[in-house]
Amino acid sequence: MSWVGRRLPRLEDPALLTGQGRFVADRAEGALAMAFVRSPLAAGTLTEIEVPPIEAPDSFVFTAADLAGVGAIEAILNRPDYKRVPQPILARNRVVFAGQPVAIALARSRAAAEDLAEQVFADIEPDEPILTFADALADGARAVHPEAPGNVLVEGQLRGEGVDAAFEGAAAIVDVELRSERQSAMPLEARGGVAAFDAGSGRVTLYASVQMPHMLRTGLADVLGIPESDLRVVAPDVGGGFGQKMSLFPEYVALVWAARHLKRNVAWIEDRRENFLGASHARDQRFRAKAAFDSDGRILALDADLLSNVGAFSCYPVTCGVEPLMAFAELPGPYRIAHYAVRSRGVTTNTAMMAPYRGVSRPMLTLTMEQLMDRAARQLGLDPLDIRRRNLICEFPHTSPTGLVHDAGSYVEAMDAAARVADLEDFRQRQTRARAAGRYLGVGVSVFSERSGYGTPAFAARMMEIVPGYETVDCEMDPSGRVTLAIGASPHGQGLKTALAQLAADRLGVTPEDVRVVSGDTDATPYGWGTFASRSMVIAGGASQMASDKVADKLRIAAAQVLECAPDDIELGDGLAKVQGANRTMRIAEIARALHHKSHLFADLTAGLKEQAFYDPAGTFSNACHIAEVEVEPATGGVRVDRFIVVEDAGRLINPLIADGQIAGGVAQGIANALYEELVYDEHGTLLTTSLADYAVPTAFEIPPIDIHHMETISPATVTKAKGLGEGGTIGAPAAVIGAINDALTPFAVAINTMPATPDRVWQALRDARDKAA
């Protein structure tokens, strides 16, 4: 029986659940504590930094002037429209967002470092901050960066032939203007690092709460001007990332610089307030789109103008092109669009830097397509499922208007399956009865694709200077028959180690408990790209399987020699090498020991059992349908999600229990996007939401049980047949929830266009509709 496909409890959990996890802050003891002095203003000229006289021992303050020789962080896209905006480690001459690091203060405790930091005074002549799209794109707007007049850092444009003609001949034209306010990825553990200086070697080991340890090493070495061999980056247990921990932040450069400069161990453990102010934000997009339909509800053309606020800098390494260019390329989603026109811009402002957050643009583009479908259905008098059925892709491979190739999926089938679970006919009856009683129920449908597991070709197409994508895995069986997989991916809560152990166990005939997965240590793992973009199961999984197969092949050859049969006759399982059709076996551990200690007996084989495999796939699309049922309370504007259904198709599931966890967590974050979470800057560019009292992360009270079902379309796009699903929950849920709210509000002729749909926004929309009607 195979390990793949089993709902195996995560091997990571016993340690985490019994307090035996080792996080960055657990390594801070004895280190100097570092705190940042951050700009209180959003924009201005930094004329002077006043540093207090320092009397206490082991206390230091450093500013940009001290960091001479340290470069800036510069994320590069090789596109003619891309404007580079270097990000200094500590502000020099000017500040561009409230929260930007201006100086560092170090002392024996964090409290003492904060005491010191609050005595540092940054003298700033303020500029009028550029905060919104309207501010940034106004004629003659002040440039946030002198390098980027006009404030557009990246712009994708496409106007397919036939778009205008299609609109002219349309039976119906539907347009939407949708907005997602700003969010934080909000990992449970904030950022942080401990830089340990080794006096003997001069090396620094940086323990850091990150998703991309190798990339961090490269970026740090480049900015500090040192060889990568002088650095070791270790991501120990990491308490969530969701994209916020994949960029190189100035804080880590300052930390490693301080450790090298002082020849001391230095710790920076970010607190929640600092995470709100200084870490990356996400979303903040405004999408305008119009679609032409024929009278049967088929889309003829799509024309979109997409704006993404990228904040004050361009995140390294993936750049600020991530949001606008993904929106540009993937807006059509799972729908057949013959004619597509789009303009997508990344706009810089005096706000915290944007970086990827689980879902990246797709929550908004899914909302856009699904609202177009719902509104067209209403306008044309069609059933919301029928109009989708007529437009969903169903022949594979399908090439999108921007050249993306969708491998086999189950777009229509997943939607129909979700609709059956939801029992929409019954819902419509309940909805009618509820309305008669003054209660407003609604249902929303969201169909989407999730591009996952893509390798270098996809990133190269974006013209990234640094092209991520491949993975390398070392698989080694030791003399006792135990297996180590050393991977370049860097799981931070996903349960990847369990899933990879299941894959390897099947190939090698051992149990998952026999497989140890080593990740996150640049001294112990092959160079790789960490964990992001729904990639690790597909790419690190593929490479793990291929490396395990190589070891298995060697085991079979060796076993065949001992058992006197052909290698193909050897089957590995239950810890044994068995001769098929015969009653001869040998323990795998015996073969492993022999290959290490009696290698001279195996003339055709090299000693040991260590193999490496490399995998760089083109990518695969998983798909899903979400259906949300909500109740909207007109008196309070409150929205409650009563029911949430997911039918997910991510190909072969390696561990369905982990897949369900990924989906449930993602859906919760999607509901947060739709209803709760919003970072708010005031008109001066001061962040008002700097605690979890003001930034409304939903809790178990707000998130309903999530009813998850699976389909398994096997596509040849990946070697494991698995597709990525890490982001789907977050991508699909907002569109389902907003669709459900708008369905509930049909009697009031009200449409919600802004996320989160807070009680105030729902109430305002209802009041505006009432005022208009009066």
């Binding site: 409290a111 904060e114 609050e118 607190d271 309070t636 009680p759």
Partner: protein
Amino acid sequence: MKPAAFAYLKPENLAEALQFVADNADDGKLLAGGQSLVPAMNFRLARPETLIDISGLEALDGVNDRPEALSIGALTRHATFHKPVSDGALGRLLVKVVGHIAHYPIRQRGTFGGSLCHADPAAEWCLVATALDATMRLESSGDARDVPAEAFFRGSFTTALEPNEILTRITIPKLPDATGTGFVEFARRKGDFALAMALTTLHLEGNTIRSARVGLGGVADRALRMTEIEAALVGKPATPETFVTAGQMARDQISPRGDIHGSAEYRRDLGGALLERALAEAAEEARGAVST
């Protein structure tokens, strides 16, 4: 988010606590449950030079169930009210209210008196005290005075408590047996500060309102007792129409401030809507109380 340095005093008894308070009147701060003060210190919004930790003073903990009133020790933890502290309408009402105060772990530590002294305009206990005519016992070394709720609360996070005083007990008059009570609040998430809340009591004769209490929280710089609405309700039938009218009166009388969680107009309307609900809840309970 580490507090600025402070000195720490832990008095053995109330007399010593009062002495410490008097000695540190300029820059001391009482620490009771710490559920608001400690986060404020971590944000460095509060920077007391001296913390006087009264959390161990047993004399201030616990509820005396007297025939005419509840006498609540200032250090009584919120969680004490999870179960009725007395038979009758008041005990039941406090159970309804307490479930809205923050989260379970916070209710284990936060104190009734601490909440009143903090005087957050959206605090549930402040609304209870204001709507139900509570009296605060304020003690200082060698002196004591009783201050009614309406004089105790002076505005947002501001009370009549002098720097040398400690709130020791709170007295809340009991409600007549057949009283129905209503408490409704609306927050973005369970446990958040209310965007608005309404507390009502109704005494019915048949379906006619004989007496009423109406209070609103989270819609002004302090909890409000709405005496004009109370007067207008007396003699009216306990019907949805009556409650809608009362809600409208509330909308006309309040002028809340907006913040990132809700605009002023929204909160004004919400206050009225919640009052309607709280009245309906109280009426239903009153009818049940009469029939049993």
